[in-house]
Amino acid sequence: MALAKEIGVARQTINLIENDKYNPSLDLCLHLAHTLDTDLNSLFWDGENYEEK
C-alpha cells in the first residue's frame, strides 16, 4: 500500500504487476525501479531463472 501511494497508483495495480497479470508501461516500470532503489533488470528479470521460463 505504501509503495502504491508513493508511486500514485492503486494497490490493485501493484498486485496485478506482481502476479504477472498486467504489463506496466515503461514509465511506470522506471518509476517503480527508482522508488525501490533498484534497476529494471533486478526488478523484472530474475536473471538466472529467466531462460528456464
Binding site: 500500500m1 500514485g8 497508483v9 492503486a10 494497490r11 490493485q12 495495480t13 496485478l16 498486467y22 506496466p24 508501461s25 514509465d27 511506470l28
Partner: protein, 168 residues
C-alpha cells in the same frame, strides 16, 4: 499529486472509480468505453434504419415503437456490459486500510444520501412536469421523500459494499 481535471473526475464518477486513476484503470476504462460505444452504436443505427423502413410500410406509430424498444434494449445491453466489465476488473473497488475504514464508510454513506437527494429532486420535477401537476404539492413531496429515502438507502449500501479492507 496532480489535480485531476473536471473531465477526469466526471469519468471517474460514471465508472465508479475511487482513488487514483492510474494507467491500469485508465486503460480498462478506455477499453470498456470503446467496446460499449460499438455495442451501442451499431444496434442503435440498425433500429433507426429499421424504423425508417417500417414507417414506409406501416405507420409512424409502429416505427416509433420499434425505435424506442430497440434503443431501450440496446441501452440495457450497454448497461449490463459496462457493469459486468467494471465489476470483473475491479475498477470500482475502494481499497482502504483498516485505520481509514470508518471514514471511508462515512464518506460512502454521505455520497449515497446525496445521490438519493438528487434522484428524489429530479424525479419530483420530471413527474410533476409529465403529469402537469404542481411542483409544490403534497403528491410531489411524497414522491420526493420516497425517492430520496429508497434511492439514498440503495446507493449508500452500494457504495459501502465497494469498500475493501486491505490487510498489510
Amino acid at each position: 499529486m496532480k489535480k485531476s481535471s473536471l473531465f477526469i473526475r466526471y469519468m471517474k464518477f460514471w465508472y465508479g472509480i475511487e482513488g487514483p486513476l492510474d494507467e491500469y484503470k485508465r486503460t480498462q476504462m478506455e477499453r470498456i468505453g470503446n467496446n460499449a460505444f460499438f455495442l451501442t452504436w451499431i444496434p442503435m443505427n440498425f433500429f433507426f434504419l429499421l424504423s425508417m423502413a417500417l414507417n414506409s410500410f406501416f405507420n409512424s406509430k409502429v416505427a416509433y415503437l420499434t425505435m424506442m424498444f430497440g434503443w431501450a434494449a440496446t441501452l440495457c445491453v450497454f448497461s449490463g456490459y459496462t457493469n459486468h466489465e467494471i465489476k470483473k476488473y475491479g475498477l470500482n473497488t475502494n481499497e482502504v486500510e483498516e485505520k481509514d475504514l470508518v471514514q471511508a464508510k462515512k464518506r460512502a454513506r454521505i455520497r449515497g444520501w446525496i445521490s438519493g437527494l438528487l434522484f428524489g429532486f429530479l424525479g419530483t420535477i420530471v413527474l410533476s412536469w409529465n403529469n402537469d401537476s404542481k411542483l409544490f404539492s403534497w403528491a410531489s413531496l411524497i414522491v420526493f421523500v420516497l425517492g430520496t429515502v429508497f434511492f439514498g438507502l440503495f446507493a449508500s449500501i452500494m457504495f459501502s459494499s465497494r469498500i475493501k479492507v486491505i490487510k498489510e
